[in-house]
Symmetry: C2
DNA sequence: CTGAAAGCGCTTACAG
DNA sequence: CTGAAAGCGCTTACAG
């Protein structure tokens, strides 16, 4: 095991001082150095396989380079994964590196986490508890709240909100002439807060629109349970029912259950999913879904990370408000056939 | 902004020396200290909101606490996510923290990454390129290879292999009396290596079993493309076809396409997916699938991380060989009905 | 237990 | 450009 290469080694080998090596490696343009020297030092560093000590760097500069992503225990269809990746891409342009914590849940032990990770900032996707907030404050690491859901007294701080998604579903169902509406989610041990937020949004929007209060349910993820609830919703009236589903998988379950109940999709029952996953287009009937723009969301969060680190991005350009879009398919096409 | 609390502050406040504080905070049981002192120091540290500097700690100890997970650009149905989380859970028991890199791809620039992250070790899920290998060696950070796929001259180093999954699919189809077999995947920009590995495994296994060479294809993810290929596979013979699918979503597409072609599932065509996702049970007909045991895989990887860090877990207990299991459902139930 | 000290590897002012 | 130095916050051997 060769001893790892330090700036002193590079300096000796290149025939310059440690100071010069440091200036070159950090690309300090404010320091006057000839291009020849810069190239030479970089060359030597590369040849020697110099890597640098992140710990020393962080200790000296008083701040880490790492953006720590603190995720709640969610498992939401890979949408979040795309969001995180995009944030990472944007943030890396500022020389920072995005890391996502993996492991037992961190709630209540953020102090221990921060004692091990030289973080430049922390991105929270849910409000922190008081103990964790306290730990964060003590550590001096800034927090960037990217809260996706509303909490009592703490509204979401992201562009896309759950209401907008449910609203798009409702609008679409109404437009397709479904006059009775319902909301259905399947139980997700890891996504309860999300499903509850959507159910709540459904009722709020119905009320705001002056629609008759539509039913909603969260059931176990088997076709029989879904069929039972569909049956209870449709037995009282022959009026077609439009169901907004928690996600595309739930929507598929509704389509299957409709078959069990002898209900035709989209004639007797319309279904619109969410996330616009591959399965929505591969199912038959194909499933209408809601797609949202995560790239713009990521851009907003990345901008706030920069701001928190005092790297004021001069991009005062207004971000396009998050767009939520319906992808209409056969499962709600009451008038036309197929999709 | 209050200056952050250091060991010196805790020492002064507690009326002890910095050395004592350090011993207490690191729970150094080999140092003789009264329980009274320990409790007192911990109390003061908590009251002051001491957090500690990960950078200083890492610099001093010469090694970071962080296990860096380096993922290829895969997007494989959340299975990997579960694996990583389980690894994190196990590794945290040794006081390490698992972090997953998020951002633009790191290939070829591992050196820059290592210069920012005080890693204890790196877990690679795919072989590193020569430049990255070199960087890792220079940095002195150990690598734990957790390669899921076979590469030329570099076989997979995990318990579950792709062959085993495809083999389970084939076995199941044969057992269900499908005599003609085929393999179908949909194009996944982020999962090409995986689909190719599965296709390769399919052919290898067919050959090894002396089965007539079954056809395979990788098509775009729309029902029409799948229907076209199914048509070409079934037009020449009336013998039922058993199709092993890349994943459950693909399997759903096959079921849909079979409908388009006028082929009955499971009578004319049997389909078995992979990953055993929720959609497999919610589709109608329900879809047979392959489930694998990620927990045991994670255990193996965690053990190798410990070993790499010299924390020889004395658990020489043999790990249960990774189990891969068929979940039979209606899509392959030629004899019985439903599922 | 204390107290003084070294040293991890780096960055950065400073005098030349 | 150099060279000597300080100092980031910690751990740890050492003499008392």
């Amino acid at each position: 095991m060769t001893r790892s290469v330090r700036t002193a080694d590079v300096a000796r080998e290149a025939g310059v001082s440690r100071a010069t090596v440091s200036y070159v490696l950090n690309d300090r343009r404010d320091v006057r150095l000839s291009e020849t020297t810069r190239d030479h030092v970089l060359d030597v560093a590369r040849r020697l396989g110099y890597v640098g000590s992140p710990a020393a760097r962080a200790l000296r500069s008083g701040r880490g380079d790492m953006v720590l992503l603190l995720l709640p225990e969610w498992d939401v269809a890979g949408q979040i994964a795309l969001l995180l990746e995009e944030i990472g891409r944007l943030v890396s342009q500022h020389g920072l590196v995005c890391l996502r914590y993996e492991g037992p849940h961190w709630r209540g032990s953020l102090d221990r986490l921060l004692a091990r990770i030289p973080a430049a900032c922390v991105v929270s996707f849910d409000p922190l508890g008081t103990h964790d907030s306290q730990a964060l404050r003590s550590s001096g690491v800034p927090e960037v709240p990217a809260w996706l859901l509303n909490h009592p007294g703490q509204p979401h701080t992201t562009a896309i909100d759950q209401e907008a998604i449910v609203e798009a579903q409702i609008d679409h169902l109404l437009q397709q002439r479904y006059k009775r509406l319902a909301y259905l989610a399947v139980e997700e041990p890891r996504g309860q807060e999300f499903t509850q937020a959507r159910v709540g949004a459904f009722h709020d929007i119905c009320r705001a629109r002056g629609l008759s209060r539509g039913p909603s349910a969260v059931v176990t993820s088997d076709v029989e349970s879904i069929a039972a609830i569909l049956h209870s919703w449709t037995s009282s009236s022959a009026e077609p029912l439009g169901v907004a589903a928690w996600n595309d998988t739930t929507a598929l379950g509704i389509v299957s259950a409709a078959g069990v109940c002898g209900l035709e999709v989209p004639h007797h029952i319309g279904v619109v999913g969410a996330d616009d996953t591959m399965l929505a287009s591969l199912a038959r009937p194909s499933i209408s879904s809601v797609r949202f723009n995560l790239a713009s969301e990521a851009k907003g969060i990345a901008a706030r990370i920069s701001a928190a680190l005092g790297q004021g991005t001069d991009e005062t350009e207004m971000l396009p408000s998050a767009f939520v879009e319906i992808v209409p398919r056969a499962s709600t096409a009451k008038t036309t056939m197929d999709g």
